[in-house]
């Protein structure tokens, strides 16, 4: 058995173990749920009894007031009636105490639920035309995304996200997408360390994994995941400070991060999760503003980052290093049934062959009509054919993508999406994994995608 197979088998065992533990936890949760249900029924019965007794006491008090003469005539009966009223009052007090205890018990039970695991599941299908570099001919098993957010004490919090999915070759993989521990200094500033979603623009941190959260089936190509041909690092390993503070009527939001810079290997971005391959760390900043009032729902901002990116051949030898520099802006609007995100990036990358400019961006617009949300997205990248960084990446050539689709919300936690995409990619002289120059012809293709996703 090869080392890779052993690791894969080990991961599979771990997953099965985790699922067994989760199943055990579910059984415990079921028992607690039954107990809570029983307590709720007891509470309901007690409340009904209190109502009845209260009515009865009121009735008796009315009767006592309305018949003073009769009471005088039969003076012996009044003390007896008073005694009955007193008994009822005592019963009500005892019941009230019982209700308080039951409510207290319910409250404690509801708190004792451990750390909730949330997540997303999606399944789908896709078909594409002949020139698609990733030919699609049928159904796919999608992905399972699990995340949990343990909080320890008043200021320490954490986030762990695990994704199980199938790649283009049909191989399943388990990726620790995020593992980050944070310390809340104040409501204005939280410090994080670990592996996190690189905080550029809006899309990457708002949706990321989690198909049910995402407004469309596909992500904008430029900011797609590293292993799916993304052109900038969607994840980072390092430290990250983020927060917000009041500014005028709105809020100023800020993110600053320092992380291992990515490298290019096998025509894909590697985010160097274990250690960096050079001393050129990735440094980035994202500054945004969210106004209040009539403009509530709007976000605007500027972002930028820089890093030294080593480009490696298959044999591990360093082919060259690119100084990656990006600056750009973004805006988003989420309100009044509209969803809009626009992001723009301008690159000024330099390597041995000189300094070159490139740019990329996208605009996504959706409008909700009841349960339906039709949407459209335009993506465009104009990448300099002399930029060694982009030339070394599988999708590093200029393109335009037109995406149109519709989302149907079955309920708050599940949705169906249908999406059509037309893509055009320019011809380019790219560099393969061995470091040789290859001519990639122009391509034009269409895709039709379908997805059913849930959140839990």
């Amino acid at each position: 058995m090869s080392k890779v197979q052993s690791i894969r088998r080990g991961l599979a065992c771990l997953t099965v173990g985790a699922l067994c533990i989760a199943a055990g936890a579910n059984a415990r949760a079921d028992e607690q749920s039954d107990r809570i249900k029983a307590l709720e029924q007891r509470l309901e019965r007690s409340l009904q009894l209190i109502d009845k007794l209260s009515s009865r006491v009121a009735e008796l008090e009315r009767a006592a007031r309305a018949a003073p003469v009769a009471a005088q005539a039969a003076s012996g009966a009044q003390p007896a009636q008073a005694a009955v009223v007193e008994d009822h009052a005592k019963s009500i007090a005892a019941l009230q105490q019982s209700v308080d205890q039951i409510a207290d018990g319910l409250s404690k039970n509801a708190n004792d639920t451990g750390i909730p695991v949330h997540g997303f599941i999606d399944v789908g299908a896709g078909w594409s035309s002949r020139q698609d570099p990733v030919p699609l001919r049928g159904f796919n098993a999608g992905s399972l995304d699990l995340y949990l957010t343990p909080q320890i004490g008043a200021r320490v919090k954490s986030l762990v996200e695990l994704v199980v999915e199938f790649d283009e070759d049909g191989e399943s993989s388990i990726d620790m997408e995020r593992v980050q521990i944070g310390y809340t200094l104040s409501d204005e500033l939280t410090l994080w360390a670990g592996r996190f979603h690189t905080p550029f623009g809006l899309w990457n941190t708002s949706y990321h994994h989690g198909a049910n959260l995402q407004p469309s089936i596909s992500r904008p190509v430029f900011i797609d995941f590293e292993d799916r041909g993304g052109l900038i690092s969607a994840h980072s390993v390092g430290v990250w400070a983020n927060g917000k503070t009041a500014l005028g009527d709105g809020k100023l939001t800020y993110d600053a991060f320092l992380a291992n810079g990515p490298s290019v290997r096998g025509r894909e971005l590697e985010l160097n999760p274990f250690t960096d391959d050079n001393h050129g760390k990735m440094l980035g900043l994202n500054l945004g503003y969210r106004p209040a009032g009539v403009l509530s729902g709007l976000s605007v901002g500027l972002h930028g980052f820089s890093s030294s990116v080593g480009r490696y051949n298959d044999d591990g030898s360093l082919r060259g290093t690119t100084k990656l520099r990006a600056l750009g802006g973004y805006f988003g609007y989420d309100g009044r049934d509209w969803e809009t995100i626009g992001e723009f990036y301008r690159f000024s990358n330099s390597s041995d062959s000189g300094s070159v400019l490139s740019n990329a961006g996208f605009l996504h617009v959706g409008r909700t009509f009841g349960a339906f949300t039709p949407y459209a997205r335009y993506e465009r990248a104009s990448l300099n054919p002399r930029d060694d960084y982009f030339r070394s990446l599988r999708n590093g050539r200029s393109y335009t993508h037109l995406v149109a689709g519709a989302r149907y919300a079955i309920d708050a936690n599940s949705s169906l999406k249908l999406e059509l995409r037309h893509s055009r990619e320019t011809a380019a002289a790219q560099i393969d994994a061995a470091g040789a120059e290859i001519d990639v012809p122009e391509a034009s293709f269409q895709r039709a995608l379908f997805q059913y996703s849930i959140a839990f």
Binding site: E40, L43, V99, D100, I102, A103, D104, L106, S107, A110, N111, T113, P116, H118, Y147, T149, Q151, G153, A154, R155, K157, S158, L159, Q180, G182, T184, S186, D187, T190, H197, T205, S206, H208, G210, L213, K244, K251, A412, A455
Partner: protein, 131 residues
Amino acid sequence: MKLGVRALVVLSWLACAPLARAGEVVAHPSVLLKISDIRDVYLGEKQLSGDIRLVPVDNSATQEVFLAAVLQTNARNYAARWRRKAFRDGISPPPVKGSDAEVMSFVRSTPGAIGYIAGTAGAGVIVLDKF
């Protein structure tokens, strides 16, 4: 004359309307908050009161009214917003209690707790606002 009576009725209703409150926002005595902070607490934007972590709880019996009156949203949008918030910022949405009694019991016994009830608050909690 009829018009005058109708106008009087409408004016009386308008004058009384602000006084017709649906419930109260209650908190553990350890909580120090401004009324304007309540919205931020329930949207996960404010997490601390001094050194104490704030622990908001929802009340399923009164949630609809509270969300409409205080957060100007509905249950669906509120849940969607929290899903995004939890996924991005690593914080958990408020746990949901089933009745005023449960909320009162939780808030009374939990430092940093905030809740809302349809009735009138009893002893052991402070009233932050009425809605």
